[in-house]
Symmetry: C2
Subunit: 225 residues, 2 copies
DNA sequence: CGCTGAATTGACGGACATCAAGATGTGTGG
DNA sequence: CCACACATCTTGATGTCCGTCAATTCAGCG
C-alpha cells in the first residue's frame, strides 16, 4: 500500500520557479480561440465530478490531471505541456481533476461551442477524434509503465519528458518529486533514490534537482524496455 | 520484474470449456453488418503492427488484447465480452494483438467502409468518437488498478467481470489465471493465492476454478478502494 | 487409467514501502 | 544581507508484499 501522498494545497510561494517560457503556439489541433487564463501554482483548473464545460490548451507552464483513491492515494494520470490540450471528456462531467503544476497560462474554450461546430465541420470532428485516440494511446503507454521496475519507470519518464520538451540533452522538470512519484506509482523516496542511482551510474547528472542532464542516453533507452 | 509469462500458443483443446452462450446482440453502437467469423481458443484475430483493416464486435466467447514488452512480459490490456467492440485504432496499424480467449464468434467489418460512411453520417462519426472515449475511460480505470495491492486488484477485477456479465452472484471467468495475472500486472501464483485468501475469508467461493460465487459483495467493494 | 496443461501451495528472497532523520533551497521578515 | 521558517529533496534502517523457484494437486481427454 502506498503512502497517503496527501498534498499540502497551500498556494503559497506562487512565484514561478522558472521564468515562464513563452508558448510555442499556435500549433494546437483545434486552434482554440478562447480566452487565455492564468493559474498560479497548485491552483485548481477543474475538479473531479464537475460539469465538463470547457476544453483547455496549455499556453505556458504545466498542468497535471489526477484522480484520488478513497484511501487518500493520488494517481497523477497525465502532465500537459505547452501546446497540449486537455479536459476532453465523453460524458458531461470530468473524471479527473486538473491543477497547475507551476504558474500557467491556459486557453479556455466552451466545450458546447466546439461540439456544435464539430457537428457541421467534418475536419474539426475528426481532429477531436484524433485527439481522443492520441490520448488513449498515451494512457495505454502509461499503463504499460506501471508494471515495470522503479528504474525502468523513471528512465521512461525522463525520456518521455525529454521527447516532449526541447529534445536536447537537458530536461527541465516543472513538477515535484511527489508529482512524479504519483505519476509513476512510486513513493518520493524511491524516485529520489532512483535518481541518485542513475547519477552514480553516470547515466544522468542533476544540475539542480529539477534540471536533468543526459549523460548516457543509450543506457536510459535500454532501461526503457 | 515479472516472470516471462510466455504463452504456450498451442491451439490444442480447442473445445469451449463452457457451452458457447448465445450473444445478447444486437446492441452494438454501430450495428455492425459485417461477416461473422469463428476463432478457436487462442487463435490470433490480429497482430501488433498489422494494418488495422477491420473493426470487430464480439458475438460469443471472449477476446483479449495485449502488448508484449521486449523482455517477454505480456500486458493484457483488455478483455472483450459479447457486445463489445474492439480493434478501433487512430493510425493505420494495430498497437496491440488480439486473440480469442475461448472459442468465439466475432463480427468483422471493413474499417475503411465505416470511416467512409462516418464522413457523411454525423451520427456514426459521433458513435465512433463516443466509443473511443469510453475505451479511454476503461484504460484510465485500468491504470488506476495497477497501483493497488494484489487483493484490491483481484477484488476489482471480479467486480468488473460481474458487472459486465449477468451481474448476479456468480461470475463465469472465460480466461485463465495467466490471463488474469497479465491483466492485473501480477503473477499466476499471486492471483491464485489471493483467490484462496478471499475464499478463506468467506468473501467468495469457487464452484470451479473459473466459476466464482460472491459470498460477501460488500467486503469486495470495500477492497475495491 | 495415464498424460498434459492448469491451478494451487510452500519456502525463500528481493524490490520497494514505511518510518525517521538530515540536508538543501527558497521566500519572508528583521 | 542575514536568519529564520518551511517546503522539498535526499539518505538511512527496517519491514513487508509479492515475485521466484519448486513441488504437488486437480481436471480434462485420449
Amino acid at each position: 500500500m502506498l503512502a497517503a501522498a496527501a498534498i499540502a494545497k497551500s498556494p503559497m510561494h506562487s512565484r514561478p520557479s522558472v521564468p515562464v517560457r513563452s508558448a510555442p503556439l499556435p500549433e494546437g489541433p483545434l486552434a482554440l480561440m478562447g480566452a487565455p487564463m492564468r493559474f498560479v501554482r497548485n491552483a485548481e483548473i477543474y475538479g473531479e465530478d464537475e460539469p465538463a464545460e470547457f476544453l483547455y490548451q496549455v499556453v505556458s507552464g504545466a498542468v497535471r490531471t489526477y484522480r484520488m483513491l478513497d484511501d487518500g492515494r493520488r494517481q497523477v494520470t497525465a502532465f500537459y505541456l505547452p501546446g497540449d490540450m486537455f479536459g476532453v471528456e465523453a460524458g458531461e462531467v470530468h473524471l479527473s481533476s486538473a491543477e497547475a503544476v507551476s504558474d500557467s497560462q491556459v486557453l479556455v474554450v466552451k466545450r458546447s461551442s466546439v461540439l456544435a461546430r464539430a457537428d457541421h465541420e467534418k475536419d474539426l470532428a475528426k481532429q477531436l477524434w484524433t485527439l481522443t485516440v492520441r490520448e488513449l494511446q498515451r494512457v495505454q503507454q502509461h499503463s504499460l509503465v506501471l508494471i515495470k521496475s522503479a528504474e525502468e519507470r523513471v528512465a521512461g519518464f525522463l525520456l518521455e519528458m525529454a521527447s516532449r520538451g526541447s529534445g536536447g540533452l537537458t530536461v527541465e522538470l516543472p513538477m515535484s518529486r511527489q508529482d512524479i512519484a504519483d505519476y509513476l506509482g512510486l513513493t518520493i523516496e524511491t524516485v529520489s533514490r532512483t535518481f541518485t542511482q542513475l547519477v552514480q551510474s553516470g547515466t544522468i547528472a542533476l544540475e539542480t534537482s529539477r534540471r536533468i542532464q543526459f549523460r548516457n542516453r543509450a543506457a536510459l533507452s535500454r532501461l526503457n524496455a
